[in-house]
């Protein structure tokens, strides 16, 4: 589906030591010995890291007795899971039917141009990831986009761009 595959050249199943897997202790404790845990475990892992790091796969597989290939199969099947880091803000532009007939294409187009990324990509500064989603369920406010928990409705391309610019300005004020 929409998920980027891991680089197939690296086949050895060893840690690359890049990720601190300490935060996974809670997840392992919570789900140890239960059945049907695959999806919730991956969801909680992604909540911690923003994506599914390689080392998390390895540790979870070992400690929760999950088959690595099964984990990878599930992670690449569902649209929610990501195998690479994402920007601080995920912009989800709705492309449901109602948004489509109200020209959602122009929202994605305007954002692609402003952010200089293609759909699915992350900006160089790591601030934004641009995504298309199937339906956010706010059809009567079409066209809609969602950034974090905030939903913006009845958009035009230029309004969408303004929202992004406002976030950028706010981010610059923040200490790094």
């Amino acid at each position: 589906m929409r998920v980027e595959r891991l680089n197939s050249k690296r086949r050895e199943l060893v840690s690359d030591g890049k990720t601190d897997t300490g935060p996974l202790d809670v997840v392992i404790k919570k789900y140890s010995g239960k059945k049907g845990i695959m999806i919730p475990v991956l969801q909680e892992t992604q909540r911690i890291y923003g994506y599914l790091p390689r080392d998390a796969f390895l540790r979870l597989s070992e400690e929760l007795d999950l088959d690595l290939s099964h984990m990878y199969g599930v992670a690449t099947f569902y649209a929610q899971f990501r195998l690479s880091p994402v920007g601080r803000h995920i912009i989800r532009v709705c492309h449901g039917t109602a948004c489509h007939v109200q020209n959602a294409e122009s929202i994605t187009g305007a954002l692609e141009e402003t952010l200089k990324v293609v759909d699915g990509g992350t900006t160089d500064d790591g601030l934004f990831t641009l995504e298309s989603v199937a339906c956010l369920g706010c059809c009567s406010l079409a066209p809609v986009m969602m950034i974090g928990e905030d939903t913006y409705g009845k958009l035009t391309g230029s309004q969408a761009v303004k929202v992004i610019k406002d976030i950028r300005v706010k981010e610059k004020d923040l200490p790094i």
Binding site: Q80, H100, C139
Partner: protein
């Protein structure tokens, strides 16, 4: 003076429109100035097009205000609350007199949505105050048997509201007949159809009615645990479900010994979906709950025989469960009194697209599409012409305007080639290209196909390629027959509903709008002026005043011309973005 109540609608659409800020503003003003009224929240009343909504109830009557932003909320408090002077300007509805918006509610019969937009969904007492959990109490205290519950549900004529249309009582009976110490009840809340938001609104607005329906189903099929499989894209619904489940456990409606009756046990857990449309299909949903890729399995065995963890499992949709407590409480005959002979009761529709009053409506089965679009929905915005409605999402089809007197019931809708589906109803006008819509849905299904069946996996991709070709002006004459051939093969050779119905959007548009396909293929024109590669923007010399607005706004500098002189668009540079057309105030840009 009686107590004045102020209620703010905080459903997802309301919050997206700014209702959260309005609620906070009213709350802080009330505290700061120690104003005398009670402030509470509710969820979506269905009137999404007028969000944010604020209700005021005082001794003179009921007033519903729409389009309220923070400043207007202050105005409401000053005028209506402080000076007893209702603000006519923002009034949407009132019980004192008819307003133009009153007709949005007039033909509606609210059964599944009976509490949506009325109660605070996070407060179980408000649900109980409107007859909530009485149906469950009636069953448990009256010692009503499984068979009797099922008979009542069967007699009501309720059919699966997720789109399948299978008789709910019969489904329950099959699960009951399969004996096993462990059985499950699943609520399918994986509302994946783009353009549908009934289940989201129900879960956000009245989660307890779904829980109560599930508990009753559990008692009927002799299951002791339930699972709600809900989309992760609905964070508010998930949050309110968690709150509702905790409250129901506290009151003893869920858990061991329901209502204090020994041996009656039922508990519910929530599973978050991870984003796969195919998981709306029951066997794929079960695979997903078990932690596998959401791939459908061959039926039989049906879930009623071998479902979750290979145990008998009853799966219904959110709306189906929400109807159950009402049916038990009010009786099957009353429910069956609505609707048509074969399609009893009511159905919730999500109205969206090119319609004035978009939102959520619940109507008796058998009402016509025209009634919904023009009666409740207020018709098409602007002076545009109504062209078609799309029913049933990617599995459904387009019903053209000339068939809009079709009654909405399972059989009549199926006869048009569309399906009832879960209830998404997207209205389209003359500016919607039907070939583009078919391409849009095929793009969706091709992407969401799980890949198990060859015809669905590869066939939808081939169909999509042809549709893309047609919309880009390189369609060939043989494309239409090839589309039809592929459609037949995909329908026949796919295991689950996704593949079996994926060609429907193409087949129905071909059936009713074949001329549009022909215009794209033979004339290389898009009659609705949507398909970009077939468009040509030109300046009408007669209308151009040389105001330079188009040239200034053109993102690629394709427009040249002197001030007060006629402008010209360079077709080699033009990207057909349409900005000049939108910006020109003199109708001087023509699209051909």
């Amino acid at each position: 003076m009686g107590q004045v109540r102020v209620i703010v609608g905080l459903g997802s659409c309301g919050i997206a429109a700014g209702a959260g800020k309005v609620y906070e503003r009213i709350r802080s003003l009330k505290e700061a100035e120690n104003l005398d009224f009670t402030l509470s929240k509710t969820s979506c009343s269905g009137m999404c097009y007028r969000e944010p909504l604020v209700e005021i109830i005082d001794e003179t009557g009921w007033y519903l205000y729409g389009g309220i932003d923070e400043d207007r909320s202050v105005e409401l408090l000053n005028s209506h609350i402080a000076n007893n002077n209702p603000v006519k300007e923002y009034m949407v509805c009132t019980d004192l007199y008819e307003t133009p918006d009153s007709r949005f509610f007039r033909k509606q019969v609210k059964i599944a949505l009976r509490n949506c937009g009325i109660i605070d969904p996070e407060n179980i007492s408000e649900y109980e105050g409107r007859g909530g959990y009485e149906a469950l109490k009636k069953i448990v205290s009256g010692n009503i048997s499984s068979r009797e519950i099922i008979k009542e549900v069967t007699d009501s004529g309720l059919r699966g509201r997720g789109g399948g249309g299978f008789l709910t009582g019969l489904k329950w009976k099959y699960t009951l007949d399969n004996k096993s110490p462990d059985k499950y009840v699943i609520c399918n809340a994986d509302e994946g159809d783009p353009g549908a938001f009934m289940d989201r609104s129900l879960l956000e607005g009245d989660p307890h009615s779904v829980l109560e329906g599930m508990i009753i189903a559990g008692l009927a099929v002799e299951a002791s645990s339930g699972v709600i499989y809900c989309r992760a894209e609905y964070p508010l619904a998930l949050k309110r479900l968690d709150i509702a489940i905790a409250q129901a456990r506290e009151r003893g409606y869920l858990g061991r010994d329901v209502f204090g009756y020994k041996g009656v046990c039922f508990d519910i857990s929530v599973k978050e979906g991870a984003g796969a449309f195919v998981c709306g299909e029951e066997t794929a949903l079960i695979a997903s709950v078990e932690g596998y890729r959401g791939m459908p399995a061959k039926r039989p065995p049906f879930p009623a025989e071998s479902g979750l963890w290979k145990k008998p499992t009853n799966i219904n949709n959110v709306e189906t469960y929400a109807n159950i407590p009402w049916i038990i409480r009010e009786g099957a005959a009353k429910y069956a009194g609505y609707g048509t002979e074969k399609s009893r009761g009511t159905k919730v529709f999500a109205l969206a697209g090119k319609i004035r009053h978009g939102g959520l409506v619940e109507v008796p089965m058998g009402i016509t599409i025209n009634d919904i679009v023009f009666g409740l929905g207020g018709g098409i915005p602007g002076d545009k012409t109504f062209k078609a409605v799309q029913l049933g999402g990617p599995s459904g089809g387009c019903i053209p305007a000339w068939l809009a007197d079709t009654p909405v019931d399972y059989e009549s809708v199926n006869a048009t080639g569309a399906i009832m589906g879960s209830g998404g109803l997207v209205v389209m006008d003359e500016t919607t290209c039907m070939v583009d819509i078919a391409r849009f849905f095929l793009d969706f299904t091709a992407r969401e196909s799980c890949g198990k069946c060859t015809f669905c996996r590869i066939g939808t991709m081939r169909m999509l390629e042809i549709l893309v070709r047609i919309t880009e002006g390189t369609g060939r004459e043989e494309d239409v027959p090839v589309l039809e051939e592929l459609a037949g093969q995909i329908k026949e050779s796919s295991l689950c509903g996704l593949g079996q119905t994926a060609p429907n959007p193409v087949l129905t548009t071909l059936r009713y709008f074949r001329d549009e396909y022909e215009a794209h293929i033979n004339l290389k024109k898009c009659p609705a002026k949507v398909c970009k590669k077939l468009l040509r923007y030109e300046v009408s010399e007669g209308n151009c005043t040389g105001c330079t607005v188009c040239a200034k706004n053109c993102p690629v500098d394709a427009i040249s011309g002197e001030r007060k002189g006629i402008h010209h668009i360079n077709q080699d540079i033009c990207t057909r973005c349409g900005i000049c057309y939108a910006k020109c105030r003199f109708d001087a840009i023509m699209v051909n």
